[in-house]
Symmetry: C2
Subunit: 197 residues, 2 copies
């Protein structure tokens, strides 16, 4: 039936309202009534599609993560296959930075969920199963680089990703300009992979 994709579209539309509200006023402003207003639908519809508020917040996060991964993969694949490993690793790490309004909004929302993970034991499981694929991906990229002889590519990947998350937070706070952040990223890549030139 076509109603399935209509259903998915509706859910996405409502989830988008959740993101918008969360990014603008925080997760505690994500009430059923505000979400309904933001999405331009009735509060009853939000209940119809997601049940209760907890389920709404959880589903909105899942949809956000799906779209984020799809967008990141698309942006990286657009670079082509024949770029140097260093450039590829750089692109993966840059994906974690709020370099446009889309990603900025996304990481603001993710930060809000991050804090909830720290106090809500029910959500804590979701956080743990979300990321480790990222480290593996980056590690495999680093290992494929002939010019790099790292004794532990996975450790380097973990190191780089932790650094990128730190940059992300400081950029969200407007403590760090884009160009400055990229300069630090390149500096770290130099230290970890060896000078490129």
């Amino acid at each position: 039936m076509a109603s399935d994709e209509n259903k998915a579209r509706r859910r996405r539309q409502i989830a988008e309202a959740v993101w918008q509200l969360a990014a603008r006023e925080g997760l505690e402003a994500v009430t059923l009534r505000q979400v309904a207003d933001e999405a331009g639908v009735s509060m009853r519809l939000v209940q119809y599609y997601f049940g209760n508020r907890t389920a709404l917040l959880l589903a909105a996060l899942e949809i956000l993560n799906e779209e984020a991964e799809a967008a990141a993969q698309q942006r990286i694949e657009a670079l082509g296959n024949d770029i140097p490993a260093r450039e590829l690793a750089r692109a993966v790490l840059m994906e974690l930075l709020p370099l446009d309004e889309d990603r900025r909004r996304r990481y603001v929302v993710q930060s809000a969920y991050f804090v909830r993970f720290l106090t809500d034991p029910q959500l804590q499981e979701v956080a743990r199963t979300a990321d480790p694929a990222l480290e593996s991906l980056l590690a495999s990229i680093l290992e494929a680089d002939p010019s790099t002889r790292s004794d532990d590519a996975f450790a380097d990947a973990e190191l780089l990703i932790a650094f990128a998350f730190g940059l992300q937070a400081e950029m969200l706070l407007d403590q760090l300009e884009v160009l400055h952040a990229l300069r630090l990223l390149d500096r770290l890549l130099d230290r970890v992979l060896g000078q490129p030139r």
Copy 2:
């Protein structure tokens, strides 16, 4: 008058209740009634000492930051003056990690405020004026190290601190063990300062 320090004690006691609640159930659970219960005083007293909820949250953060800085400074000064620059830098960075319950609770609370900074324009100023001293401190430590010839110690300091913040987040999520985090920190120090041995 001695009432001034009594007043400060009372404010600290109530602020402590704010931290406890925020670390356990998040900042949105910090209501005047809950804070009063947690502190073992009447709600009226919380109003008496802090006025409204906004002022309470702001004051609780300021007191938290003051205590954090004092504790960090004390812990670092306890190391003595004659330790190598690398060890000193390592100690400064370790101070940013949740290595005991005190710091864990503190960084959970700070993370909650961090997210509020992203949406509350009134608080955004506080975030910007909080940290830059940390980078300067670490940069001066790095510069004092004769075995290090960095072209830009401040950039190295920024890099290391961003990385430490990333570690902090992953540790708070229990995605990273303490020993693993310290191994990554040492690995990065090797890359930035040069191998120690």
